[in-house]
Amino acid sequence: MVWQISKKDFLNNIITSRFIISCFICLLVIPFAIYINIYNYENEKKVYETEKDRIEQELKNVKVYSFYRPEILREPEPLSIFCSGIIENIGNSIKIKFKEKPMFMDRNTQERENPLLSSFFNIDFISIIAILLSLIALIFSYDAFIKERTDCTLKLMLINSISKTKVYIGKFFGITLTILPILFICYTLSILLIVINPNISFGVSEWGRILLLFFISIFYFMVFVALGFFLSVVIRNSVSSIIISLLLWILFLFIVPNVNIYIAEFYVKPEKLALLDYEFQKIDDDYLKHSQTFEKKLQVPSYPIVSSGPNDDGGWQVTRTSIECIEYYHKLAKFQTNILLENASKKEKLQTQHIANLIKQANLARWISCISPAEIFKHSSTSVCFTDANSYWNFMKQVQEYYESFIKSILKDEIINSLQFVTPITKENILTADEIISQASNGKYKTIDEANIAQQSLGIIRKAIYTDNKFPKLDVNYYSNIDFNKFPSFSYPKYGVEKAITNSLTYLGILVLMLLILLAITIFKVRVYKI
């Protein structure tokens, strides 16, 4: 009998204009949103590929250990097509540096050309489902009981051996069944657009997670059906019911998601980034001072420096020079590296504080927003699509772990204490200053000191290296890149459906709990419903 009522409501609803208009709007909006997000994803993939090439090219030029700064790229997430989450706010690559533990992605390659458009384009599949399906659910359910009562059909049903609770359950599933095809159309349409796109290929994980999204969406709109039913049971006339439904809809869909941020910003106030930058700057200045005093203490070799390149992160590449010079810079580089790493741990304390506050703020905003089923739905969807803050932090945690292991490998004796740390010139090709000057002057000067006294060393060596090309083995181009196998490589695990399920379980739990509470209090009200 419950089934009879469900069937009746289903058949009765699908021929209404409400249903046809709902389908029509979905057919209109969904392809548009999916199309834009597919376009974004393809772009992201292109950017990813070119970035990967760029990094590969750059690595070929790393010929000393102290120059190696691995760069980590975040692979574009295929399901960002459905739910872009916070992806749009974060960058996609990060360079590991000695001087700072990685905390955020560096650059944002997906930034749109026109920043004014960004909020307009932020609409993705899940936001549309969140907005449309909740509205459709309310529109189908706000007068579900009221209409049956005023039309006397409720009495005609109750004249049979069926309880009000059963009528309610039957009607609830009837309306759920009505909305299901609309949801189904939305998903099929987007899947179709993805399948016909030759540039996108989804794996098991993606299809599995889309299925999971579908199930979450079902629970989501059921919460709104239950809400509409609740209103239709406690409110006696349909005009009040639709007004209150729409007010709640606006509250859940548009007010809560904004207010939660204000509240969170009011109660948790992380330090301003500019202040953090200022503190970092002070530490960096300190580093320069330290390194200058250390440099003064070192005995400067008598051989003039011909070619060397320090970078801003304690990297030195010393070529076309003598062993004395190389050793001088090796000492400097080792000192600088240690100072930088020390500073990195000083900064880490500040960073941890800052990040903790950011996370606290984000968490507060998130939990406040959980009073809205729409927000819970969005949180669970982003966690299924791996585009949520937690997935991002997990990624960053892996990056940080990688940073630690990378630093450890740098500090190994065979790396930091080898001359390869600062020079590409291999042991057998390294010459002393005296050897260089005597070869360069064809034996005229036996030692560098002799040449220096005659004030000839610089000219002779310059000529020998640049004009006559006498020392090709002292040149950086003679050597190929360092052996990267000496360092750990970064690999981010690819997660599957199980991870998505565990990620979204809490939210799904809250959603189901909301549904059950609404069902329970509605049933409680239905049992004493005045016909």
Binding site: L11, D151, C152, L156, N160, S161, I162, I531
Partner: protein
């Protein structure tokens, strides 16, 4: 068989809508409850069908207390409601089909539905038309068909003639007679005195929630029912 004992209903707002009604309608009897608007007729039906709880008193259907075992009593009643909007998007046949299945008639065919619709006097070309295109009288016929197809032992009708044309009203009389002859108890609320004179075995006149007069057929045929009814109405004015 329908029975009420001291049945009383006072609404939440304090309105005493029904005052100690004692009534018994046996199978094979047609009972007419006459009364002006607001007399308490619908309240009586609602109490008999357990749509509302009585303040005091009991109601029985086929000897079963409607408050103690409402679902069981529902098996034995058919009902024609005052308002017969039904489902506008469904055809007459679909409406009939839905309520017949709820009433436990699972294996009726299209032909059965058509026969029933024909029996209550609906034209053939309206069977598959959506109900929202129907006039009130046509909807009332469908409502009647819904009540009759359940084939319950008690039939309660709440002002079923209000939208019917004279021909349809005459057909209704014939149908109800047929039901009575099958041994069913018929309880009909109306202010249609002519139908009462034609059909009723017994007539009750209700005023402000109280049953003020109960007349057997011989009596109201002898004395003028209209006269009696209007006399009671008159008292209100005096």
């Amino acid at each position: 068989m329908l029975q009420t004992i001291n049945l009383t209903k006072r609404y939440e707002d304090g309105k005493l809508a029904l005052d100690s009604l004692n009534l018994e309608i046996k199978g094979g009897e047609i009972f007419f409850l006459l009364g002006a608007n607001g007399a308490g007729k619908t309240t009586t039906i609602n109490l008999l069908l357990n749509f509302i709880e009585p303040t005091i008193g009991e109601a029985y259907i086929n000897g079963i207390d409607v408050c103690k075992d409402p679902l069981e009593t529902k098996k034995h009643v058919s009902y024609v409601s005052e308002n017969v909007m039904l489902y506008g998007n469904f055809s007459a046949r679909q409406n009939l089909d839905f309520f017949a299945k709820l009433g436990g008639k699972k294996d009726l065919t299209k032909a059965d539905y058509y026969n029933m619709l024909r029996k209550v006097g609906l034209q053939d070309d309206a069977f598959e038309k959506k109900l929202k295109t129907f006039s009130k009288g046509m909807r009332q016929k469908v409502g009647l068909a819904i009540a009759l197809i359940k084939d319950a032992t008690n039939i309660l009708l709440d002002e079923p003639t209000s939208g019917l044309d004279p021909k349809a009203a005459a057909e209704l009389v014939a149908l109800l007679k047929e039901q009575r002859d099958q041994g069913k108890a018929i309880f009909m609320c109306t202010h249609d005195i002519f139908r009462a004179k034609e059909l009723a075995d017994r007539v009750g006149i209700m005023k402000e929630g109280r049953m003020v007069m109960m007349l057997e057929r011989e009596r109201f045929l002898k004395e003028d029912l209209e006269r009696i009814y209007l006399d009671f109405m008159q008292e209100v004015i005096n």
